[in-house]
Amino acid sequence: MKSYRMTAPGHPLRTLLIAGAGLAVLLILGLVFPSPWLRDTMTSLFASGLLAMSLHLLVGYSGLVSFGHAAYFALGGYVFGMTLQAPGYVETFGAWSLPSAMLLAMFGTGGAAFLVGLVCARLSEIYFAFLTLAFQMLFLSLIQGFVGYTGGDQGLTGGIPRPAFLGINVTQSWDRYAFCATVFVFGVLVIRLITESSFGFTLRMLRDNEARVKFLGINTYLTKVICFTLAGTLASLGGVILAIFTSAAYPEWASWTKSGEAIFMIMLGGVNTFLGPLAGALAMRIIDDVTLLYTTHTELAKGIVILFVVLVLKRGILDFALDRRRSRADRRANRDRAAAHEKERADVDS
């Protein structure tokens, strides 16, 4: 028997090139259609897209359903805003205030997610989900309670200073759009590289069969903690984008409905495809905007669409589309095989 040759893995350079092309498309889109509506809509989509895609790392790849993921999204926005609003910070760091505040938001949120992960990863399934929700409620209470720092119910208002750096002035529409698009693509690229790494496959194993993973000598607890930390850190980037966009941060970002919205995005877009959550975020936005043209009952419209997706398509929109394409390709291959077989028989007969 011929020795088996393993399928060649995709090259990380290819992923980098695709990410570069994606960023180019987003930038061209912003240049060709300079309408503030499009740029603003896209910027808020970047934020919610990162929230959903980072949650997908937990829900889709690791099988860990978190009900409290929005807490890290909000934490990113709050740490970023509070750092820049801190007296003397902008004066001290000058042009590097914004990037350093971004890094602080990422690492601060990552640290918080790590600590929460240490506790939550001890539990599994529904208990894990509820514990993440409990921590989210705790974060929300802290945001609402420390009025002097966070603005309480009113949020972090009064404007977040956003000094220009490296010639980028995020108070300007184009600069803001281009910068947020770059941060978004960077976040998606990191998520992609994680999912295509050895660790990404460890996460898939964890989702499929946690008991078996233990019998491969892998520490499943540590795997969950690392995944939770990475997902929280990446969600914070979404919060930073929204804080840059709105020049504020609001406690609603840390509410359980925001986490629920991210789960709906994943369900709507598809849990089995990498870009499914992004498609879900886009679909949610379209439903919102189209419904608002006729009525204020956007939640009702979302509910109907989700019911349709769950009951009729029985999978997310992108999963459905890809399954259709795959089954069409299979049918075509079967037809070709049958035709080749027929031709062979005809040749033999003649």
Binding site: S3, M6, L216, I218
Partner: protein
């Protein structure tokens, strides 16, 4: 060498494993047989750290492993395949084997591109060839036949290059021909990988043909240990497990 010394496991009032003392020499091929509920799988669960013994000692290569976590026991060199194939249903066969090899190479947490490492690829290819899974290597594990899933389960354990491999009913749920094929494969793997192998099996003919040493359990205790020849002629085993032969006259009297 694996040594079990007076191992007891109680679940409340039920004694699942009762004072079991067994020794498995290096590179031996042994079978554990016994009726349902005899404590065979419990014994495997105790060895692999899935259960902690109530009392007694389990030593592997001189180290006490009783009470250690399953992952730590795996790192000591003990691999296991399960009665119901325990695989990763969404991964392809080659991906499943490659991730198991990756785990063995201590790269499970690496953020580098998966399966790019030459050692991992070569070992995965070796395993596909060894298990003769070439025809399904690129198919999703959850969609292949039961027999191939059982082989893949064995492959996941083999990927860790175990010194001791435990197979819980490797031929369970297979047809008669497939069962013999499976046991031939088990024997081939045992020879090629130079490891100690212990398997649980209900089919006595398969056990007699395959194992060097056979240990019979009943009600959690060791009833007999020895070669196929010895077990075949052991009166208590015949009575407890194989059953006593009923003569034609006895049948007629009973009727």
């Amino acid at each position: 060498m694996l040594t079990l010394d007076h191992v007891v496991k109680r679940f409340g009032g039920v004694v699942a494993t009762n004072d079991v003392s067994l020794t498995f020499p290096n590179e031996s091929l042994s079978a554990i047989i016994g009726p349902n509920g005899a404590g065979k799988t419990t014994l495997f669960n105790l060895i692999t750290g899935h259960l902690v013994p109530t009392s007694g000692s389990i030593r592997f290569e001189g180290d006490e492993i009783a009470g250690m976590k399953p992952a730590a026991i795996v790192r000591k060199g003990i691999g296991r395949a399960f009665q119901v194939a325990s695989i990763f249903g969404s991964l392809t066969v080659e991906q499943s084997l490659a991730v198991a090899v990756t785990a063995h190479e201590r790269r499970a947490f690496s953020l580098g591109g998966a399966f790019r490492n030459h050692t991992i690829r070569r070992r995965t290819e070796e395993l596909v060839d060894l298990l003769q899974l070439n025809h399904v290597a690129q198919r999703i594990s959850g969609e292949i036949s039961h027999g191939d899933q059982k082989l893949l389960d064995v492959g996941l354990a083999l990927a860790l290059r175990p010194k001791l491999l435990l197979l819980d009913e490797p031929a369970a749920g297979m047809g008669p021909d497939e069962r013999w094929q499976m046991m031939d494969t088990v024997k081939r793997l045992w020879k090629s990988e130079n490891m100690t192998l212990i398997f649980i099996e209900h089919d006595i003919d398969l056990v007699f043909q395959t194992a060097e040493m056979i240990h019979v359990l009943r009600y959690g205790s060791v009833l007999a240990s020895g070669t196929a020849e010895h077990i075949r002629g052991h009166p208590e085993v015949i009575e407890a497990y194989l059953g006593t032969e009923v003569t034609h006259e006895e049948t007629e009297v009973a009727l």
